[in-house]
């Protein structure tokens, strides 16, 4: 009896030991059931797609932050009386670390997700879970988005921790020594190196699997009426931008030129192929400021002609087109939608609208002055874009660019206060045109820079000087453009804008006029390029950027870039100073003093 019991104990103990030591690891390794456990993620191309989609889904969440930081800290946007202390801090460059707008976490959340995805893409490639072509498309896309995010961080914070490893351990996080900070210049070097790596895949996602022709694994689809291709960052655009920042103007121009030429290029003289000539080039007949009948030069006795100010024509169409039309498909390069069907709410309504929103931000007075100081070719003493970008509603100036989908097209009352559709327009032809101009100019193609920003290659590179008043060049019909109306420059500046003549030439760029002429503004004086006045043309380009792309999130970057390039902080400081001064902000002088030192440009980085 005793022996039996002893054996029993012995056996039981043995079994217990075996149970507790060997099978336990599996017993206690329970993958998360309510979410996708790390061990079940990244198994195939669909998981890779899910990672891309997830990151972009999260990316929409920083739309307001991107706009607010880049505009309010610069000179085109101002807080209203409704703005809270934190927005006012951005306005006067006195951000405290508790300012939610100055919190770097939303950016890093995305960056670390990008890092995690890229790490796993590498791993999937190694283990054969991802085909090289699928890998390259996804890796380059997420990598470019990460670069975009880092550039934003660097221009807002100056020096930032540059992390490319996926952090997978909470304890690693607190070791700040593992995350050395890089300065803006160093970050730009890193980003340029990444983007200029020839292995990058720069085109859009292919619509079908390059090998099997299957469409199911593609990220290039249509969802809820939107083509997803526009959701993803345009890699050529960013390649150009980062080289522009880096000072590699040739590379930048190559990328911009490549992007500008994108389009269904058919036969040269197929005028019906609208997109051939319009896509990604600022042209005189698309998204242009125009006036209804009676047209032409107004009779001094006549009242002003009505501006084409509706959702489906003219410059307003860029911000209001109810459909993704032929016109706007030539303008949009990167655009993400907000719909009321899904969770991501449209943050712009609250920021800008005084109906159904909090009306926290509005156009700065200097921006309004800028528009009002222009003269159009028809002699009207203002830039009509100002009247479309900012409207007076209920006696208050309201930034409209982001609100056209929310407000009714004529009454400017909310269509439905609770439904807040809209878009986040991240890159478009208007930006591209001016960036290309800036890049060409700084690559010492001064005449080309002038032509890209203003008037157009066709006119500037023609023997007939453009007419200051109308822009019409008065080219006689007998003129043979065979050896004219083109740059005759080496690539990437070898641009053909020929039009007409005996052969009925239609060079790819013949309709291009630049955003300034597109907005019907009078030409800049030709003396600018004739005297090689590079700085003046650059000033004009940056000024034009303000009028064309204000409130869209480019301004701060433009000011920082040019101020750094010139080594004159005053370029930036004065613009912000003038905004504050114009609005009677008592902090104006102090802000100028702070911004005169480049170190004063940046927000505190809260660790």
């Amino acid at each position: 009896m005793k022996r039996i019991s002893f054996k029993l104990i012995y056996k039981t103990c043995l079994v217990c030991c075996l149970v507790t030591t060997f099978s336990c690891k599996k017993v206690f390794d329970l993958p998360a059931k309510n979410q996708v456990d790390a061990e079940n993620a990244y198994q195939n191309v669909f998981d890779a797609n899910a990672a891309v989609v997830g990151i972009y889904g999260q990316f929409i969440g920083i739309a307001d932050r991107y706009i607010v930081l880049n505009e309010l800290r610069a000179d085109l946007m101002s807080p209203t009386a409704n703005a809270d202390i934190y927005l006012k801090q951005l306005n006067t460059h006195t951000e405290t670390t508790d300012n939610p707008w100055a919190d770097p976490k939303p950016w890093y959340k995305l960056i670390l997700n990008c890092n995690d995805a890229m790490y796993h893409f590498d791993d999937m490639l190694k283990t054969g879970k991802l085909k090289p072509i699928d890998y390259q498309q996804r890796y380059s896309d997420i990598g470019t988005l990460r670069c975009w995010l880092y550039l934003q961080l660097a221009i807002q914070y100056g020096s930032i921790p540059y992390i490319t490893d996926p952090i997978s351990n909470v304890t690693d996080l607190n070791d700040a020594s593992k995350f050395p900070r890089l300065t803006l210049a160093q970050v730009i070097d890193k980003l340029a190196a990444f983007m200029n790596d020839p292995v990058r895949y720069l085109d859009a996602y292919s619509a079908t699997d390059p090998i099997t022709n299957a469409t199911s694994s593609s990220l290039n689809v249509t969802v809820d009426g939107n083509t997803t291709n526009l959701f993803f960052i345009n890699k050529y655009a960013f390649l150009g931008d980062i080289n522009l920042w880096k000072g590699n103007y040739g590379l930048a121009s190559t990328a911009y030129r490549r992007l500008s030429d994108v389009g269904p290029i058919g036969t040269n003289n197929n005028a019906a192929a609208f997109a051939t000539y319009e896509q990604f080039k600022a042209c005189y007949d698309n998204q242009n400021v125009s006036y209804g009948s009676p047209s032409g030069t107004p009779n001094p006795n006549q009242t002003e002609n009505p501006l084409n100010d509706n959702n489906v024509t003219g410059w307003r169409q860029t911000f209001a087109d109810p459909a993704f039309s032929t016109n706007t498909s030539c303008e949009y390069i990167w655009r993400m939608p907000f719909t009321s069907t899904f969770q991501q709410g449209n943050p712009f309504v609250n920021l800008f609208s005084n109906q159904g929103g909090s009306y926290l931000l509005t156009a700065s007075q200097t921006m309004i002055d800028n528009w009002n100081s222009q003269t159009q070719r028809n002699g009207y003493p203002y830039d009509a874009r100002g009247r479309i970008a900012v409207r007076t509603i209920g006696g208050q100036p309201v930034i409209m660019k982001q609100l056209y989908y929310y407000l009714d097209n004529t009454s400017f009352l909310p269509v439905n206060v609770l439904s807040k559709p809209g878009y986040w327009l991240l890159y478009r032809t208007g930006v591209l045109a001016n960036r290309f101009a800036e890049s060409a100019l700084n690559d010492n193609q001064i005449k080309l820079g002038y032509a890209l920003a203003n008037v157009g290659i066709h006119d500037v590179f023609s023997p007939y000087t453009p007419n200051q008043q109308t822009g019409a060049t008065g080219i006689p019909s007998s003129f043979d453009p065979t050896n004219s109306e083109q740059t005759f420059l080496p690539a990437p500046y070898d641009i053909d804008a020929r039009s007409g003549g005996a052969q009925n030439y239609h060079g790819l760029w013949y309709r291009q006029v630049g955003t300034r002429s597109r907005a019907n503004l009078s030409n800049l004086p030709a003396s600018l390029y004739l005297t090689n006045n590079k700085l003046a043309i650059e000033d004009a380009i940056i000024d034009e950027c303000a009028r064309e792309t204000s409130f869209e999130g480019y301004r701060w970057g433009d000011l920082v870039r040019v101020a750094l390039r010139r080594g004159t902080p005053a370029f930036l400081a004065d613009k912000v100073y003038n905004k504050l001064l114009r609005e009677g902000n008592p902090a104006a002088t102090a802000v100028r003093t702070k911004l005169m030192d480049p170190n004063g440009w940046y927000m505190p980085f809260k660790l």
């Binding site: 104990i9 039981t12 690891k25 017993v27 329970l30 456990d37 999260q58 202390i85 351990n169 909470v170």
Partner: protein, 1075 residues
Amino acid sequence: MQNFTKSIGLLLFLCLFGGVKAMAQKADSISVRLADSIARYKQDSVTKAKGDKISGVVKDASTGKTISGISVSISLYSAAITDDRGRFTISVPNYNVVLMLKGQGYQQKEVPVKGRKVIPDVLLFEDAYNSIYDEARMPFSNVAVNRQTNSVSNVNTLGAWEPTSLETPDSYLQGKVAGLKVIRRSGTPNIGANLFLRGYNSLYGTNAPLLVVDGMIYDTNNYGNSIISGHVHNPYGSLDLHDVDNITILKDASAGIYGTKGANGVILISTNNHPDLATKIDVGVYGGYNYMPQSSLLPLMQSPNYRTYLSDALRTSGQTSDQIAAQPYMNDNVSNPNYYAYHNNTDWQKQIFKNGYNKNVNLRVSGGDDIATYVLALDYGGNKGITNLTDLTKYSTRFNGNLKISKHFTINTSLSFAYNEQNLKDQGLSSKTNPIFLGLIKSPLLRVQQVNAQGTESPNQSDVDVFGYSNPAVVSSKSQEFNQNYRFFGNFNFRYEISKYLAAQTLIGVTADKIRESTFIPRAGVTDDTLTNGAIADSRLGSQVTRLFSVYSDTYLSYNRTFNRIHTLGVYVGTRFTQSNTNYNVNLGYNSAIDQLVSVNTGAPALRVTGGDVGSSRWLNNYVNANYQLYNKYIFGFNMALDASSRFGTNIPGALKVGGVNYAVLPSASAAWVVSSEKFMANVKFIELLKLRASYGLTGNDDIGNYTARQYYVSQNLLGLQGLVRANFGNPALQWEVGKKLDIGIDASFFQERLNITADIYNNKTDHMITQTPTPGYSGLVYAITNGGAMKTNGVELSVSGRVISTPKFKWDIGFNIASYHNKITTLPGSPLLSQYAGATIRTAEGRPAGIFYGYRTNGVYTSNAEAASAGVSVRNSSGNLVAQQGGDMRFVDVNGDKIIDSKDLQEIGNPNPDYTGGITTGFTYKRLSLNTLFTFTKGNKIYNYTRRQLESETSPYNQTLAINNRWRGDGQVTNIPRASYGDPSGNSSFSDRWIEDGSYIRLRTITISYDVPVKYKYFKYIKVYATGNNLLTFTHYLGYDPEFAANGNVLLQGIDNTLEPQFKTVQLGLRIGI
């Protein structure tokens, strides 16, 4: 290196124990062989006959008469029975033994001989007496208080026939156990209580003690929140209190035997045990009346006062006098078509509270034979509460059986099934749908029913009023919210006695629990809601199902033996394993076509929201428990738990790793010295028991989230595309919270048990406490969940009980317990944490207790504009702009003296932790009549009265209390109530000490008068008639309905009155018959 050392240490330790066991085994076999021999038997008998003897007399403690038939024994040696004169004589092996006395109807008692040859008269009390020899049902065996080495409390319910049907086992414990703070959540039937044993142990993990019912863990966690606002499902509500025999509470390191589930102490409940062989039927029937006297209602304004207030408030809203006069409620023209709709004086508060009834029937049948015994219990109850909003119907059944398969093999089973269904209404912070809240804030000018221009009432109830507030009468009569839940909880326990000393036992059990909720809020009469996507929700519908299924097993070997009557050793080695699967799914719908369509599938398809969660966890707990007694005087206990869990991280620094699994190693030890059993105490006659004890050990808390340690991905959409993003980093170092518990206590009894005292002093430390650790900016995370915190709680407890008067006819028992704890957060990564709830700011900071209210201090009201101007203080409003203060504004204390009242001027304004809590019991018995009372009290805890803040903010058309009549109205007026100010631009109603109140109270919690009817017929064993009152008297300065409520179990959200159904009074009559 450290791990290596630890594992070696562990191995050595196990070897040591193995060795002890093996040696014990040897000794065992020899002695048994001897014992089996006739020679030994003879030798024994002769020794006993020749040997020493001792004799004494046993008497009844109250009558003083001698008792016959009491069994007197010496363990493993000899036994005797008292004769008709109460005398006994028994052989003793020596004069150091302990006599055990037992007898029908009497307490059991131990009498240490302590070298005496003649024992003084032994007095025995009746078996219901709260004695130090009462046995606590410890995890492995029953241990009387006088042998405990740990701090253990023991509550015998004696059938729990007297409490009202409102009582659940958790609320029943209120005031009965020193150190167990029981806060009933509200007056809603079955809602239960928050239990905090010895203060707090965790900030983010559970603080609820582990509940073990009949040897199996009874899961009291909530998986998924109720969709009924303010409602908390109470798993204790599925345990019928009538079935509970004994509740034993492990308060110190002894809870470590439950490893990483024991950090908050353990409540062990045993049900319907020890059935007699004779068939017995107990029937209980009772019914009662719930009421709330008018005097308990809050003093709200009536129409005249309210109208004046409203016009004062509206005048500050920017409206002109003409605009105000044009409002329908200000237009006094009787011919105005809206006149009758807006000229009333409705007491909305009174409409809400309706007195209700409760009833209960319970039946218990027990019996059996030598082979099998059983107890079968049935219970049916209903309780309508106080508002007619939350009426409950409950059914439960339980079967406990013992089956002897053979001499060595027994099977015990305990199976229970409970089903509850309850009508509920939104409570707490739901300003549009909480009828109690609406009844307080609704303007008295309005009317319950619709009315036409002639003043004729329609049968239809009024819609949302001109201010946009719901009609509370609609919410209480037309909204439909139900909760149905059941729980099956059952286990089989197989026990095989391998030898006299060695037994193997295994328990296997299952918990199956399901909670189904459905809600419907009509559109008519209820303010619309706005959904996150901007849509308007008029009618609101919901359904939710929460399920829990868990399998539990507990297998152990036990070895119990006394060697030479000197050493008593008990060793238990075993392993527990549980796998829990939980899931809930929730469907919310909105805008069904008409208010007659009430099920969730009739909601507008575009607005449907579905959600849910699934979780599973596994837990393995290997344990060793050993206790050793030397001469019945020196007692030692040792526990060791080795836990593995699917919740733990995979790489915990310093943890024991076996086969790639991290183990929590949680040892604890305890010792006691029974001073009174020493020889030198033999002549100190007034001391019955004097025992010193101490314990120290580790416990753990595994409530760290099923998957927190793991890295996982969550869904993220991009329009209609579904993607995945990383949700967290995962924390492979995530581990259990470690609770280090030190306890030093004394158990004493004097004057033959007439006075019993237990006192404890303890120090609990929580290390590796889960915190939301701030992470650097580049982490992208708001915080990470790590084991970065630490906390400590120390305190003292005292309980005293005794029989003051003990005469044959009249007995008076009194009991008193009091406990105090002091909690302090000792380590908290990052800056102090501020949490927001119900408009309150709660600060969590190092060096301070958890849950501190953090707001402005006030110092009266500016009497005039001039005074305010000269003070020159401004308030920073929510958008950061400064608003200058004016006459009638609150004068807030400007801590930093910068003349700006902002977040820098916040300070601690109240601590919701009490100075002390406790209970007082008294029992009088006069002949067949007895009167028992329980008082409970708490002192020094602060309450944030959110409800009063709504009723005294003076910022909206909410009805206000009468205190607001005293508001500041003009220059020079000295008052402590600020001016009415619409929208409150000057922040007068900010979270400040104005809303903090003293929550101290003393309450006559229960009082019971019962009468034992003399039974003439032999069929009846007894008939008891009784009356019980609940909450009849409460003494408090608190201005709300009642100072006892719990909005939330979270330690940071204690003491916040968010308008829940208040505690109410109940009187009931009952009859209990034994056949």
